[in-house]
């Protein structure tokens, strides 16, 4: 279990991270979510020991040097171009205290795991973005860390690379504690027990995805017209509070009202055609905007 209390970082008088407190339970996955500039990377840097907190503490049971127990994947991992993937992974394992006689085997094992078996003897300068990300994961797990910290692990990848990395992380999730940052809530949906929403350095919301949904989600009707004009016309005539987006009109549902029948009775008299009527929940993106937006 890792306990973070009152974590604060001030850069030139500005609080980039402001009094953050949260707990990472062993074996769980936590997503740090927020728009660019919310302080996600700064928070992760303090957890890795790269940055000293201005205030606050990070405690992991009785561990003195937290660097021994973590594995870190930066958003854009940079490798020594003159080392091969295997040499690099072996070296990083040794630096983390993997005994010399096991280091090579262990490095080979994690490179197999991330799917770089055939490329392990190539210099890292020849690697593509997706391969670098996978090597980044390999070097982060080579010493079997208790906590895996990943900064935007999939944001920079194409859809194929993204899928590969998410699958790897899902496997890792089964036996390690993971903390990762992202600005894409959809990525969090697949592999998260706890969500932490950051906004301007402050923790504005936290809980499981289900909790957040219950708290912020709302149902509404989405009516599709053939044009924006028709949707607007409907909004002015309607007795229900309506918002318009392109050729869609949205009507909030509060305490079960209006019912679909009530809505239908209004729609049925309209002099123009309706393409579609449905009852929708908010997308994750909309929830994200609602939590961290202005």
């Amino acid at each position: 279990m890792i306990r973070i209390e009152h974590l604060t970082k001030v850069f030139g008088g500005e609080k980039v991270v402001d009094d953050l407190s949260f707990v990472l339970e062993a074996g769980t996955s936590t997503a740090l979510i927020g728009p660019n500039g919310a302080g996600k990377t700064t928070t992760l840097s303090m957890l890795t020991g790269l940055l000293k907190p201005t205030n606050g503490s990070i405690r992991m049971n009785d561990t003195q040097d937290i660097r021994k127990e973590i594995g870190f994947l930066p958003q854009y991992p940079n490798f020594y171009p003159w080392l091969t993937a295997l040499e690099f992974t072996e070296m990083t394992g040794k630096l983390n205290g993997v005994p010399s006689r096991d280091a090579k085997k262990q490095a080979e094992r994690v490179l197999d795991f991330v799917g770089l078996t055939n490329d392990r003897s190539k210099k890292t300068s020849t690697f593509s973005g997706g391969m670098k990300q996978r090597l980044g994961i390999a070097q982060a797990i080579v010493h079997k860390p208790k906590l895996l910290i990943l900064d935007e692990p999939v944001s920079a990848l194409d859809p194929v690379g993204r899928r590969e990395v998410i699958n790897l992380l899902k496997q890792l999730q089964q036996h390690s504690t993971i903390l990762y940052s992202t600005h894409i809530l959809n990525d969090a949906e697949e592999m998260t027990d706890q969500l932490l929403f950051l906004k301007k350095g402050q923790l504005v919301e936290q809980g499981s995805l289900k909790d957040i949904r219950t708290k912020f989600d709302s149902f509404r009707y989405k009516i599709q017209f053939t044009s924006k004009e028709e949707a607007s016309l409907f909004a002015t005539q309607s007795q229900l509070p309506t918002t318009v987006e392109e050729s869609y009109a949205f009507i909030e549902i509060k305490d079960g009202f209006p019912t679909m029948q009530e809505l239908m009775s209004q729609l049925i008299v309209l002099p123009f055609s309706i393409l579609k009527v449905e009852r929708v929940t908010m997308t994750l993106e909309e929830i994200f905007m609602k939590v961290v937006g202005q």
């Binding site: 990377t41 840097s45 890795t48 020991g49 790269l50 940055l51 000293k52 040097d65 660097r67 021994k68 973590i70 870190f72 930066p74 958003q75 854009y76 991992p77 940079n78 490798f79 020594y80 003159w82 080392l83 040499e87 070296m91 990083t92 040794k94 630096l95 983390n96 205290g97 070097q139 900064d151």
Partner: protein, 259 residues
């Protein structure tokens, strides 16, 4: 200690694969053999290429071996030293700037081990280059001008190596404190420019690290230099100081690595 060995291995691998251990010694060998050869053949060279007016006669001074070794030292102290310290001045900050340091700094390493691994490899590169450079100079000097006392020669090379090791520590210290551009500038001002300034107005003081190179060559002559030991000791003290400051700043600036 274990992380020191691993980091040392890494530094050697890097220097080896970037051919530093090849071209740096070659540069010093080239600089070393230039002076004995050009000075000896100067008359022939002038006769062959120069359109000397009739009746022009050039009287070249008669050099003794120590003059030639002094001239070679001058080469090392200008071109050789500039190239060498620029190489060293990028060893720490470049890794921070391109982000390769990040994956090292997040591991349980000591910054003492990190700094020392770079200092050891940089120093060995300098010692190897300088030794081969002097060997090249001595080889041709011995053939063309005559020999010097072997023990004194070895003493001189070792003494010059202390200066190179000092230059390595200072360049690395600046590398730990500043970004590449500033580190390179400060290093060039302090080391090669320092040598120039010392040779211009150095008559006002008698011992400083910048004099060590000249004092080293004087070990070949019979005259006893009472300031040599003091200069050597001062250099070693400043070298240790540079290492300590360098380690402190390596730790302090760890957070500036690109993430």
């Amino acid at each position: 200690m274990k992380t020191f060995i691993i980091l040392l291995q890494k530094e050697f691998r890097e220097s080896w694969r970037s051919f530093k251990f090849l071209w740096m010694p070659l540069l010093f060998i080239l600089l070393g053999i230039t002076d004995p050869l050009t000075n000896y053949y100067m008359e022939d060279i002038l006769n062959a290429v120069g359109n000397m007016p009739d009746g022009f006669s050039l009287s070249l001074p008669d050099f003794v071996p120590i003059d030639i070794l002094m001239a070679s030292t001058g080469q090392f102290q200008s071109i050789g030293l500039i190239v060498f310290v620029i190489t060293i001045a990028g060893m720490i900050n470049r890794e921070r700037q391109n982000g390769t340091a990040t994956l090292i700094y997040v591991r349980p390493i000591s910054f003492f081990a990190l700094f020392m691994s770079k200092w050891v490899v940089g120093s060995l590169l300098g010692i190897l280059s300088v030794s081969l450079g002097y060997a090249g100079s001595m080889y041709y000097t011995a053939i063309l001008y005559g020999s010097v006392d072997t023990m004194s020669f070895i003493q001189m090379v070792m003494s010059y190596c202390v200066w190179i090791v000092f230059a390595t520590a200072v360049a690395l210290m600046f590398s730990a404190i500043f970004k590449t551009a500033f580190a390179t500038t400060f290093t060039i001002i302090v080391i090669p420019f320092g040598v120039m300034i010392d040779s211009l107005i150095g008559q006002y003081w008698h011992f400083s690290p910048w004099k060590l190179a000249n004092y080293s060559v004087q070990l070949l002559s019979d005259t006893h230099n009472e300031y040599y030991i003091k200069t050597l000791l001062l250099t070693i003290i400043l070298l240790i100081l540079a290492i300590i400051i360098g380690i402190l700043f390596t730790r302090k600036n760890a957070g500036t690595t690109k993430i």
